[in-house]
């Protein structure tokens, strides 16, 4: 049935090229310029989908993004896109599509049995039943409901295409390129303003592409549109963006838009994203998004073959398709008649024009007289019949006389709803207009004007004038004086709509076609008290389908108003929300997915570590070397044990560059540090470092680190890796907001320095060998907590004698560009000493052996006293957090406090996150004494050790408790001990 419904000529399609496509496994042909819907209709395919609940057969209803019925699974494999609107899919060669929500086939869908059960499946039926037996809900009923619902299938595979984001700025954003939008863009563009014109469709022009009877400035409207587009293209200050839908309005003149860059191609071109998410910042905007035609609610209004009247014109004029041979029109306004005339001109047999209005305009009547068709005024279409395709309509005239007319196309028009969703995204509510029987925008987002059909101005001439004026005003607001010029002229079509919210008749009259919400469901909701339109929506799902009620809402809301006996104005309409058109989730992510989800920070020695066999671990955004596996090592624990032993017995080297480093200078730098740390720094001698602890304002520990004094007015402090940005922010707050009177300057120098820990009894030997005469490391010259700056090997060096491992240790820093070379130099100097690289895992083991607190203990809920650091809190000065650290709850003796523990059976393994219980106590919350924060196998001691927070912890040292991990099923008897397992006197690090 090739091109069954395609007219022999006309339309905005390129007949010189043929595009092949497949629907439900059958091959068809279409042309460039077609949508999937127009190509299907051209091929005489009327049945394209099944509805959500009753699985009713459905065809193409509209020609635009409001389509509720013709939803397909587009493409195959990982590129499958469920719920694609055939009316919005631009045809390409090789396109494949499949109908959805049916089984086993579109023609024979078992789910249609739901339609038979529909007396039970009314709105909200599931709330009233399926309660018994209770286990049945999850096991039986819910899975059934879920499978029956749901429309199309996602591929379940990772999306193979790429996506981008982009930012754009303009003086004037014009949304929509119909006559009103084009006029707005021309006026603003000619004045010199920076204009962006976004058009959702692949072809700009709006309704002008679809109406053959329009003239603008005394020319065919399409010619005018093409000239306008040419002029806009030539203006350097104007950007026309086709295939770009504005989907959201956000604060401060920010708009979201989605550009379909490669969707009209079988696959995006190399380097091209599939879609691009635009954030557009506009001084002003002009909403010229047109209007959506409203269905009439009558029995059988969902049957394939029933279409929106203006869509029938679109197919005819733009796509040269007349989707029926014997047609009828059902309308309550003048616009429906334009479809009648267009159908007649296209050669279709017009069986009847049924107008609900008793009276129609004389000019129309006169012109209709020439059609020679049946004209029924004050009448209605009471029902349709015909199974999977329209065959007959039942027409009732003003006298109640019933007639059955055979036809395969019924064009219906219930009036027009301005597409004003975007005007309400910031909370403005639309206002009901009796004149057009629809909501019009009232207040709008700051800077937005609404023009043309979107503003309820349905006449082309008036829309052009509105658009033009808005364009000039918007340009003027941006400081561009528009040249004096007249708006383009056109005549205004009439509408004269007389609303009908529900046409009496037997059988299902659909309000929301996709969700199968019927007029009866609205009545039921009313009866059961779901009377606010928002409750109506939630109870019946009216307007919650993929079209978001663009066609259905007003019909449902107005019907509710009728039932309530109140004006529509009072009853109102539901809130519309972004995205105005559905947007692929991947588009919002853009580049930031997979490996690129978050940036990766690499230290200067990253490649060096990799070359040396490092495995890496994520620490915030950093990658850190976790351990360095060597051939023959069975698992990571082998490597870590070797690394720890190497440090404790010789010397190890570890990249510690990721710790935050903040440079603090100024006459008041010392005073400043005194206020942000619990302990004192003002008197710290130059050339010395000190461990410091910061509290939050609420008295809990914020972070720890070392502070080194490099000069009288110069300190550098370190933060934990994870907290670096937070501490910088906190210190900036202190400096700028709390104490602006202090002379203190802060700079993050984390990135500037590569820093390596050199730890172990041979660390001094190694460094001395490497540094030679550049620096003397003798203990008395450079003692524990010493700090020095000097130059060596052509670079400045910062040397700190600090130790996390508890061994004699140093940290050496050079400008990061030299970091890799430093690592190599360290290894070279350390070679003869057996120097070993170690990673964060060994570092962690050694800090546990040494009882140093780290991230697991600095959990944001511990106080200095909890961690055994209470004595650091100075009583000689005030500091951030001091006041609230004294609250009852923070000094309560029942708090859990820092201890060490070890298994009584040395072969037993400990488990992080285990809780402490008394021996013999029931595992209950009441008996919970605390938990293990950090555990490790200690190569130094030859058994597992742990750190924990325990109620009355320090007082329990020597007691035996159990560390119970109910998740892993372990229960280990442990002895509570000091958290310092190795060298508690601290002899090693001072040697």
């Amino acid at each position: 049935m090739a091109a069954a419904c395609r007219l022999p000529e006309g339309g905005l399609i390129d007949r010189s090229r043929t595009l092949r496509f497949a629907f439900d496994g059958r091959d068809y042909a279409g042309h460039p310029g077609d949508t999937l819907a127009s190509a299907l209709l051209a091929n005489g395919v009327g049945l394209v989908g099944r509805s959500f609940k009753y699985h009713r057969p459905r065809g193409v209803l509209t020609a635009g993004p409001e389509e509720p019925n013709a939803l397909v699974e587009l493409r195959e494999g990982a590129r499958r896109e469920p719920n694609s609107k055939a009316t919005g899919v631009e045809l390409f060669d090789g396109l494949t599509a499949r109908s959805q929500n049916r089984w086993p086939s579109l023609e024979h869908d078992v789910g249609a049995v739901n339609g038979l059960l529909s007396p039970l499946f009314v709105a909200g039926f599931y709330y009233k039943t399926f309660k018994w037996p209770s286990a049945f809900w999850e096991k039986v009923y819910e899975p059934l409901i879920r499978r029956a619902a749901g429309l199309g299938r996602s591929s379940g595979l990772a999306d193979p295409d790429s996506y981008e984001k982009a930012f754009a700025f303009c003086d004037v954003l014009v949304i929509g390129s119909g006559p009103a939008g084009l006029a707005g863009a021309l006026a603003a563009g000619r004045a010199g303003a920076r204009v962006i014109l976004c058009e959702e469709d692949f072809a700009p022009g709006g309704r002008l592409l679809c109406e053959e009877d329009l003239e603008i400035d005394a020319r065919p409207a399409l010619d005018w549109a093409q000239d306008a587009l040419r002029e806009l293209a030539a203006l350097p200050n104007v950007t026309v963006m086709p295939r770009t839908a504005v989907f959201g309005v956000y604060d401060g003149g920010t708009y979201g838009a989605i550009e379909k860059v490669g969707d009209h191609l079988p696959e995006p071109l190399p380097g091209q994203p599939r879609q691009r998410l635009w954030q557009i910042v506009a001084g002003r905007s002009i909403l010229a998004a047109g209007a959506f035609e409203r269905p009439l609610v009558f029995s059988g209004n969902d049957r394939p073959g029933v279409m929106m009247a203006s869509a029938v014109r679109s197919y005819r004029s733009r796509f040269a398709v007349v989707p029926g041979r014997r047609a009828a029109v059902f309308t309550n306004n003048d616009d429906g008649w334009r479809t009648a005339f267009a159908l007649a001109e296209a050669g279709a047999t017009l069986e009847a024009v049924v107008d609900t209005r008793p009276q129609i305009d004389a000019a129309i009547r006169k012109r209709a007289g020439f059609l020679g068709t049946r004209i029924v005024t004050g009448g209605r279409v009471a029902s349709t019949s015909g199974g999977r395709a329209l065959a007959e309509i039942e027409v009732v005239d003003a006298t109640g006389h019933v007639r059955h007319l055979g036809c395969d196309l019924l064009a219906m028009s219930g009036g027009f709803n301005p597409s004003l969703g975007l005007a309400t995204h910031l909370g403005a509510r639309p206002r009901w207009s009796e004149a057009i029987a629809a909501f019009r925008p009232d207040a709008t987002p700051p800077g937005m004007s609404v023009v043309g059909a979107a503003n309820g101005t349905f006449g082309t001439g008036a829309g052009l004038a509105e658009g033009f004026a808005a364009g000039q005003a918007a340009a003027a607001a941006a400081g561009f004086e528009a040249p004096v010029a007249e708006a383009p002229r056109a005549r205004d079509e009439t509408l004269a709509v007389s609303p009908v919210w529900h046409v009496a008749g037997k059988g299902k009259a659909f309000v929301d076609l996709q969700h199968d919400v019927t007029a009866k469901d609205v009545e039921l909701a009313h009866r059961e008290g779901f009377r606010s339109v928002e409750l109506l929506k939630r109870y019946t799902t009216l307007g919650m389908a993929t079209d978001q009620g663009k066609l259905s809402n007003i019909n449902g809301h107005a019907r509710m108003a009728e039932l309530l006996g109140r004006p529509v104005e009072e009853v109102g309409t539901t809130v519309s929300r972004a995205p105005h058109v559905p947007v692929a989730i991947a588009a919002f992510a853009g580049h930031a997915r997979g490996r690129h989800f978050k940036p990766t920070r690499l230290t200067a020695g990253h490649d060096f570590a990799r070359r040396n066999g490092a495995s890496f671990v994520e620490t915030g955004q950093w990658l850190r070397a976790q351990w360095f596996a060597r051939p023959g090592e069975a698992d990571w624990l082998d490597s870590v044990v070797r690394e720890v032993n190497a440090v404790r017995g010789g010397v190890g080297i570890c990249d510690v560059s990721t710790l935050g480093k903040i440079d603090v200078q100024g006459a008041d730098a010392g005073a400043f540090l005194n206020r942000v740390y619990v302990n004192a720094f003002a008197q710290l001698p130059v050339g010395r470092a000190r461990y410091g602890l910061m509290l939050r304002e609420d008295g809990f520990v914020l972070d720890d680190g070392t502070v080194a004094r490099l000069g009288p007015e110069h300190f550098v402090l370190s933060t934990t890796t994870a907290n670096a940005a937070r501490i910088m922010k906190h210190l900036n707050f202190c400096a700028q907001v709390l104490w602006p009177e202090l002379d203190v300057q802060l700079a993050s120098v984390t990135e500037a320095w590569a820093q390596y820990a050199v730890a172990g009894p041979r660390s001094r030997q190694l460094l001395q060998a490497m540094l030679g005469q550049a620096f003397d490391l003798a203990n008395e010259r450079f003692p524990f907590m010493g700090v020095a700056e000097f130059e060596w090997a052509g670079v400045p060096v910062r040397l700190f004698r600090i130790s996390f491992s508890g061994e004699l240790a140093y940290e050496i820093a050079v400008p990061a560009h030299f970091g890799e070379a430093l690592a190599e130099a360290l290894m070279a100097a350390g070679g003869p000493l057996g120097a070993t690289l170690y990673g964060t895992e060994a570092l962690g083991v050694m800090r546990i052996e040494k009882g140093h607190v780290a991230g697991n203990e600095l959990s944001g809920t511990t106080t200095a006293a909890d961690l055994g650091l209470g004595r650091m809190m100075s009583t000689k000065k005030d500091f951030v957090g001091r006041a609230l650290s004294g609250r009852e709850g923070l000094v309560d003796s029942a708090r859990i406090r820092f201890v060490g523990f070890r298994p009584v059976d040395p072969s037993a393994r400990l488990s992080g996150g285990a809780h402490f219980l008394e021996v013999g106590a029931e595992p209950t919350t009441a008996n919970d004494l605390g938990y293990a924060t950090s555990v490790a196998f200690s190569p130094t001691l030859g058994h597992w050790i742990g750190l924990g927070l325990l109620r009355n912890g320090p007082e329990r040292i020597g007691e035996r408790l159990r560390a119970v991990d109910l998740l892993r099923g372990t229960d280990v008897e442990v002895e509570i001990c000091s958290p310092v397992f190795v060298d508690p006197e601290g002899v090693r690090l001072r040697d």
């Binding site: 469920p82 709330y127 009866k520 009866r527 779901f530 993929t546 994520e618 892993r968």
Partner: protein, 418 residues
């Protein structure tokens, strides 16, 4: 109760013309009430229900400024769970879980409680330790918790990003009894059951002030529909807590923040549990209708507008694509926002207000939907007996001043970090 498959079938035969309103739409009674509950959200309605059911207090009104369920109960991502860490929380949320488990039978209304399991993923060893600690705390409280390995997770959800991930999945903590419930139906079910027991549900009635006696004791409310006297007045207004408290002349340790949520177009079943990403702000489940319901972090600035901005939308979807690249071509259908009562320690308050005669239920952050039954239960207990329910005993207002904050996340006194 009155709803069953039989009543449904019988009504089907008569064209569903005999159904009565699910709840009575009442007007304020001139004589006033024993208890006026401000806020027709889940918590307010549940409170009224349990006042009537558990304490025999039936002369109760619930006052709602819009339509019932128009607040957060009608806009949350429906997750219910009791996988809390701290003792003050876990007993309370577990009470809630138990009430959920019996809710349908209790109310005679199918709120579609679906215990499909909640899975929290972790991505580092430290996170695993933290989840093990939490799971053990749950088990000590008698709450179910399981530790899943990376391979366990892969077996169940092969479409998560296991390869080329920025933060590889290392495993997860699962609560099988957690899941979802049909949010709106929770409000309707409580409303219906409360109304049936005599509670007046008054919609389109906004509290604009408080009536007080000369001692300053609250004796009722001033509303857009006139003054309403009350023996006791209780507020359960979630995101509007600070505003209503201001009417009574006090401040709360609460900031209002907008949280956005998202739903995709309906698709056939893909995700059969609730999953949260441990290395980004993203959580997701699939509604019975087929929509992927997901969310992430709050926008981060205080707000009373029920909408947010693009950066957060992007952040959430980035999390989604990092975890679940299979949803890339599924389209976001709708986004919305709710105003949350973010407390300064992330935990709620159920206590006497600083003003006599007024009772306070607030500070639910983004986690109060799951609390609905227990919140109503415990708040009703407090109102009826003037003593805190055992499970909610930690939710005192003076804990901030006294230093007994219940800070699950360890973020301290900054509302938008909880």
């Amino acid at each position: 109760m009155r709803y069953s498959i039989f009543s449904l079938a019988a009504n089907a035969l008569t064209g569903h013309r005999r159904w009565k309103p699910t709840w009575r739409d009442a007007a304020p009674k001139a004589g006033g009430y024993d208890v006026v509950v401000i806020g027709g959200g889940g918590h307010g309605l549940a409170t009224a229900y349990y006042l009537a059911r558990n304490h025999g207090i039936r002369n109760v009104a619930v006052i709602e400024k819009g339509w019932i369920g128009s607040g957060n109960v009608g806009r949350n991502t429906t997750i219910i769970r009791s996988n809390y860490l701290l003792p003050g929380n876990s007993s309370f949320y577990e009470l809630s879980m138990k009430l959920w488990e019996g809710l349908e039978a209790d109310l005679g209304y199918n709120a579609m409680v679906s215990q499909r399991g909640v899975l929290n993923l972790f991505h580092s060893d430290a996170q695993r330790d933290a989840y093990v600690r939490r799971g053990n705390a749950m088990r000590l409280e008698g709450i179910d918790a399981e530790l899943l390995s990376r391979e366990d997770v892969r077996r169940e959800m092969p479409f998560l990003a296991f390869d080329d991930a920025r933060f590889p999945i290392k495993g997860g903590l699962r609560q099988r009894r957690g899941g979802t419930a049909r949010h709106d139906a929770v409000a309707w079910g409580y409303a219906g059951a409360a109304s049936e027991r005599g509670v007046d549900i008054i919609q389109n009635c906004e509290v604009t002030g408080f009536l007080t006696d000369p001692d300053g004791r609250v004796t009722g409310v001033e509303t857009t529909r006139g003054a309403i006297r009350a023996g006791k007045t209780a507020m359960a207004v979630a995101g509007n807590s600070s505003r209503v408290a201001a009417l009574a002349g006090f401040r709360l340790p609460i900031e209002s923040h907008v949280l956005q949520a998202f739903v995709s177009e309906a698709i056939k079943p893909l995700i059969d549990n609730v999953v949260t990403f441990g290395a980004g702000h993203f959580y997701i489940s699939q509604s019975d209708k087929g929509g992927l319901v997901f969310g992430g972090d709050i926008d981060g600035y205080n707000s009373y507008a029920q909408r947010g901005n693009l950066p957060t939308v992007e952040d959430v979807c980035e999390g989604g694509m990092a975890l679940m690249p299979a949803i890339g071509r599924v389209r976001m259908l709708r986004s919305w926002g709710g105003i949350m009562d973010m407390s300064m320690d992330g935990s709620p308050i159920i206590d006497h207000a600083p003003v006599a005669g007024l009772y306070l239920n607030a500070g639910w952050c983004y986690g109060g939907f799951k609390a609905t039954p227990a919140s109503g239960h415990c708040f009703a207990h407090l109102i009826a007996t003037d003593a805190p329910a055992r499970e909610a005993a930690a939710y005192r207002l003076d804990r901030f001043e006294r230093g007994y904050t219940i800070d699950e996340k360890g973020q301290g006194a900054q509302a938008n970090l909880h």
